[in-house]
């Protein structure tokens, strides 16, 4: 791994990769953040992307990420100095200024926020994250699994209402969420303040690089240069390259035969509304049912559990060769269903308890638990 930096030119790939790892549902409408980040990087210059091991283990660092709705954020974009407010709050606790930031999760809009924060604060960005995907709750992280405390949680809204919350992880989550609701729909959060040494066990390493790599594959195809061929060949090549880059499996692909609100008594901890959809697999004739609650949570193939959180489920739109999600789909559209295995730590007993189907209100055993 060479020393890298993230420049304006990397933003399209970062955006496309962020969309891929958003597990479809949360990727809706994050393009605005690309425009926004490009403008910031154009002003501040590139951001240095470093491995945790390359930093002084004593460096104070914190995770940066937004909670709330991307639609709300697109309508009310950050004014730019939110990270400054967070860094100031957290530095007060450390008794020292932050030396680096890392992503809460390198996916969806939260793949971009830490880059913007590092740029505005002039700090290096650590190439890791705490989810490797999108989870609905900010304490569903490998940081949490490793015992790094979420709080003190520094939050700031688009209207610059700011708060430093000192409480347990779940409580912090709840309080911050109701604040997000009242303060314009989203909050930027600084959390999991720690020394870099703690990240060795607590983080998923190389996440940001992986987002960029997958993003480049997607961008290459989206540019649609003639070399890539047409139709089936191009679509199959993209699938091949995506599976190679992410270790993903293709669960199936075909026409969306059903999509709409899903009736289910999921836990009320989650904001948003459950959505269900069914894809008729073109080759096998199987029915792939997908359940989404903000993100895609599980996939049943002819009623048999084929994939579930914490593994990532992604939808590729065959007609545009872009990642897509239930919010953008209607019955009749053609999609491929991909499953990307989550980081190994998520398949531990504690990992599945925090981010497995049960955590989403599904009384199911994760496919990896079978026979355990």
């Amino acid at each position: 791994m060479t020393a890298r930096s993230i420049t304006v030119a990397d933003v399209p790939a970062l955006l496309a990769g962020a969309e891929f790892f958003s597990t479809s549902a949360a990727g809706e409408g994050i393009e605005f953040a690309g425009v926004w980040l490009e403008d910031i990087l154009a002003h501040t210059g590139p951001v240095e992307l470093v491995a945790a091991d390359d930093l002084d283990p004593d460096t104070p660092c914190a995770a940066v990420g937004a909670m709330g709705s991307t639609v709300a954020m697109a309508e009310l974009p950050p004014s730019g100095d939110e990270p400054v407010v967070l860094a100031r709050s957290l530095a007060g606790r450390f008794g020292a200024p932050l030396g680096a930031v890392m992503p809460l999760n390198a996916a969806s809009v939260n793949a971009l926020h830490p880059v913007a924060a590092a740029a505005v604060l002039g700090l290096p960005l650590i190439d890791c994250d705490g989810m490797g995907r999108v989870f609905p709750l900010i304490h569903q992280t490998t940081y949490e699994l490793a015992g790094v405390s979420l709080s003190p949680l520094a939050v700031v809204s688009a209207g610059h209402d700011s708060l430093l919350l000192d409480t347990g992880s779940a409580r912090a989550e709840q309080i911050a969420r109701s604040m997000a609701q009242a303060a314009g729909g989203w909050l930027l959060c600084g959390m999991y303040p720690a020394r870099v040494a703690r990240l060795r066990e607590a983080a998923i390493h190389g996440s940001v690089s992986r987002v960029l790599e997958v993003g480049r594959v997607l961008c290459e195809h989206a540019s649609g240069d003639d070399r890539s061929g047409h139709g089936t060949a191009r679509h199959e090549r993209l699938l091949r390259e995506l599976t190679a880059a992410t270790g993903a499996a293709v669960l199936g692909g075909g026409r969306v035969v059903e999509i709409g609100p899903s009736v289910r008594q999921a836990g009320t901890v989650y904001p948003g509304n459950p959505v269900g959809m069914v894809v008729h697999d073109h080759d096998s004739g199987r029915l792939i049912r997908l359940e989404a609650h903000n993100e895609l949570v599980l996939a049943l193939s002819d009623g048999a559990l084929a994939a579930a959180v914490p593994d990532l489920l992604c939808l590729l739109d065959r007609s545009t060769l872009r990642m897509t999600g239930p919010e953008r789909l209607t019955a009749g559209d053609q999609v491929d269903v991909l499953c990307v295995p989550a980081a190994p730590v998520w398949h531990s007993v504690a990992g599945l308890a925090l981010g497995g189907p049960g955590a989403f209100g599904f009384p199911l055993r994760h496919p990896r638990e079978e026979g355990r």
């Binding site: 926004w36 974009p77 209207g159 610059h160 139709g231 007609s319």
Partner: protein, 450 residues
Amino acid sequence: MEGARIGVRLAAGHAHAALVAGGEVRQAAGRSADDRALSRLLRGLAQGTPVQSVTWDVSAELDPASAGSPVAAVRILPRMPFRGLGSGHPSPLLRALVGRQAAVIGGHDLFGVELAMLDIYALLRDAAEAEAQGLTALALTATGAPGCHDHELVAGELIRDALPQLRVSLSHQVGGLGLLDREAATVINAALLGRAEQVVERCGRVAGGLGPLTSSWFVAGDGGRISAERLRLLPVLGLSATGAAALTGAARLAGVDDAVVGLARPDGLAVGHVRDGLPHVATDLPGPGGVRMAVPQAALTPISGSAAASASAFALLAEHDQHPAVVAVAGEAAGGGDHNRAATDRARAVAARLPSATVLVEPPAELAAIGAAGTEPSAWLDTVLYAETAEELARKRAVVEQRALTLVAESGARLGSERVVSSRALSVSFLRSGSYRLVVRAGGRAEDDA
């Protein structure tokens, strides 16, 4: 020949016109430099037939890169941007059109809760400075305007009152979610206000020359048609109309309401879909100069390369589509030289690769002009609402749908012909349960339709 309609595409000093009456199509083309030549062209086309309507595709006339004049962009946000970060736009087009960028305090959240009081003094100061700078138009974009447009309305009123010479575009009239995209659309809209006025007046004048009963309309980017008044206020709606008109024309000539359509051009194939007689549209497509705008436009996927390559790609798409495939020559008017022959050859090559059910359309006039003649009133609304119960959602949804139908009626739809074409309520991720984004499309039949 009752109910003859004329469609005209204006581009690069030329006019391509088609007259459609019942099953008959006539065509004419010529220079459009002066009004007299244009009037002569249309009269020659009509040959004394009473013409009900002339519908203009003026998207080329409204190209923001050439026709736009710089404007002041004013955002209304609860907080000033930090060191100006994040307010720039990467598009050269937009940077060229924004002569002055400013922000004032104010705005609402998506559900209509006021985030900050509108700073009217800063607003008037900015507007006055813009005018002093020589700018003639101002684009006003308030955060949360799709949920509550009070601040935009107040700001617009204040500016018109204090600076009557300054034209103002309000983002909620342009519509769409997402501040940046909506602002881009509003800026382009404001930049085109001057040109739009000229174009609308000219088109009205020429159409009026055909007789007192001939009305004048404009093709919108979503494939519907809008009134002169609406285009004058919202020229951005008239952009990218040519592709939409061509899709509509292809489906009409093929005699189908639903189709996957391949528009054969000399340099490639553009694939779009027609549903219920209207082109399939999207709001997240790059518009003029690659700028994403929160305005619906016909979704056309380009397939470049040789005729054989585009044919096999289209064959694959058509095979997976449940609707019939239509291939149409979308060059200029029939018999229009090498340029057109290349498009025709491509269309035939593509059609030859497809199943026999495929319809090959070789239009007797320019496809977009034929499509323009046949456009029908339409409207598009994209908004957010909050409903705790299904009943509440249905009620609020009905209100929005009614608003869309009213817009259709205002575009000259025959009373009772207005209908909701599609209405989608999508739950919004990571907002409290019960938050929905509602996208409504409505259409109708034109009053003059015999």
